[in-house]
């Protein structure tokens, strides 16, 4: 089954990516995790996102495009990245989620990928 590992990070976590003192540790943890995923051969794809303030939300109200500065949901922790994995079941997906660095400092949601009409 395919699962999305959704990574939620706080503003401080986003800042760790570029912070002089913290960035090395931040990226080292993520590199180790990505290498483990690749070694296990479970990754489909993944991407880290820039911080939520760079987000722009769009809605169509009839024919009118409404564009708004900022992320869709205004919460303390924001979507910071996505990893798509292909594993046999939820328990295996949860194991990978637990190993994710963000599980220790932020929060990680596991969602099965919809495999209906689109595929």
């Amino acid at each position: 089954m395919r699962y999305a590992i959704l990574i939620y990070e706080s503003e401080t976590d986003f800042a760790s990516r570029t912070d002089q003192d913290r960035r090395e540790r931040y990226w080292a943890a993520w590199r180790t995790y990505t290498e483990a995923l690749n070694a296990a051969g479970v990754t489909r794809t993944g991407a880290a996102l820039q911080s939520a303030v760079t987000g722009t939300t769009v809605r169509m109200k009839g024919n009118v495009r409404q564009v708004q500065d900022g992320p869709y949901a205004d919460t303390k922790e924001q979507l910071g990245g996505v990893v798509l994995i292909d594993v046999p079941d939820l328990d295996t997906a949860l194991d990978w989620a637990a190993r994710c660095p963000a599980a220790a400092y932020g929060a990680v949601e596991v969602r099965p990928v919809f495999q209906g009409a689109m595929s």
Partner: protein, 431 residues
């Protein structure tokens, strides 16, 4: 026995096994339940005409599998149907042996999976493993049947869609995951107890079914001390069941029970289990609770209840698994070993909002207040306890206590009044 009675009996015996087996392979719990339900219906219609098949379980399994395939033809892809077909022709369903693997333990782990809302764990177990009807589950949990049904449907959809595996967890996860299974089972046992009072004589006893599941877990996971602890705990309570009601059906509290009525067989089995569990040296909530019951069971062999030991066990329990129930048990034991005043002080420490509607809290409070001769407050406490009592026999028992508190209060009030009058008389006589 008629064919329909046999069908029902077979149904009860193998419902959970059939559902667990089909769900583990097809990974759709709701579909598996529907298929087994249809197969049972078919049996009730067919068997009175054709006679009961030589291997009724195998018959039901075959019919249920065909139902699953029919259903999937309508809803699923060719690929999935091929999977089901291989399930049907697989050797696991060999009708001549009538044996298919028991997957109920896996189903129990699915029902109590951390990805499932914890309040649905027990209802899911009752429905899928024991085949208890939704209406009965709803009434045991004081929820409207439609609401309970909705929760169960949602949970089963999550199990299917999120891909929760039908597997016994690996060693490093096992203890934590087993805790959820045991906790859910214990809730089911409590629900069974609640039911005993108003039990429908036609229904199989829920408590027996839960005990049976606990035995199954002990058998399948012989190295897990908490599983043994839970079974021991249930057996200690079950052993006392015949003594909990007087012949006129009134409630008899533990301290007043006739120990001759306690089941020696069950007590002995509980002791053996608890001893075996303790040798693993991995203490947990259920072993502690069983040990507390074991201390009470001393009376069965003419011994004294060691209240100081019970206090220490409750202290341990409050560390590993704090709960209102444990706090109350602790306070009651403290009352016996150190006096009611100390116990009342402990009750004051429990946050009021957690006990406002809690019958055992008010009953204990009433009891302690009577011991320290505060009958008016005891009367008020018993009143609140009665309001929150579901069980009629316990309600009557508490009503007796309330009347006792009331009488004591009025006796004392009248006595004071009489003394006042006497004094007034003497004063009037004097001049």
């Amino acid at each position: 026995m008629t064919a329909s009675e046999t069908a029902e009996q077979v149904a009860r015996r193998c419902y959970g096994r059939l559902v667990a087996y089909l769900a583990a392979h097809w990974r759709d719990l709701a579909a598996a339940e529907d298929a087994v339900g249809d197969a049972l219906q078919a049996a009730l219609e067919t068997w009175p005409r054709t006679g009961i098949p030589r291997k009724p379980e195998a018959w039901l399994l075959t019919v249920a599998r065909h139902k699953l395939v029919d259903e999937s033809r309508r809803e699923h892809s060719r690929e999935q149907i091929a999977e089901t077909l291989s399930l049907i022709t697989g050797k696991a369903g060999d009708e001549t042996t009538n044996l298919f693997p028991d997957e109920r333990l896996k189903l129990l782990f699915v029902c109590a999976h951390p990805a499932i809302d914890v309040t649905v764990h027990t209802p899911l177990m009752l429905q899928t493993v024991l085949g208890v009807e939704t209406a009965r589950i709803a009434s045991a949990f004081l929820v409207a049947p439609s609401a309970m049904s909705q929760r169960l449907v949602r949970a089963k959809a999550k199990i299917r869609d999120a891909g929760i595996p039908f597997e016994v967890p690996e060693q490093q996860q096992l203890a934590a995951r087993l805790d959820s299974v045991l906790a859910a089972l214990y809730v089911a046992y409590g629900a069974g107890w609640e039911e005993i009072a108003g039990a429908d004589p036609g229904e199989p006893d829920l408590v027996d079914e839960v005990l049976w599941l606990a035995r199954l877990i002990v058998e399948l996971l012989p190295d897990e001390p908490e599983a043994k602890g839970l079974l021991a705990l249930m057996l200690y309570c079950e052993a006392r069941r015949p003594a909990r009601r007087a012949p006129d059906d009134t409630f008899v509290p533990l301290s007043a029970q006739d120990t001759k009525l306690w089941s020696r067989t069950m007590l002995a089995e509980a002791e053996t289990l608890l001893f075996a569990a303790s040798r693993v040296r991995r203490l947990g909530r259920f072993q502690l609770e069983a040990a507390i019951q074991s201390a009470h069971a001393e009376r069965a062999w003419g011994g004294q209840v060691d209240w100081a030991a019970i206090v220490r066990l409750y202290e341990g329990l409050l560390t590993v698994a704090p709960s209102v129930g444990a706090s109350l048990g602790h306070a009651a034991a403290v009352a016996e070993s150190q006096g009611a005043e100390r116990a009342l002080a402990l009750l004051e420490d429990i946050p009021q909002q957690r006990v406002a509607n809690h019958q055992p809290y008010w009953a204990l409070r009433g009891h302690l207040l009577m011991s320290v001769n505060r009958p008016l407050e005891a009367w008020q406490a018993y009143e609140r306890a009665i309001v929150f009592t579901e069980d009629r026999a316990i309600g009557c028992f508490l009503a007796d206590r309330l009347v006792g508190a009331m009488e004591q209060f009025w006796d004392e009030a009248l006595e004071r009044l009489r003394q006042e009058i006497e004094r007034a008389k003497r004063q009037r006589v004097r001049p």
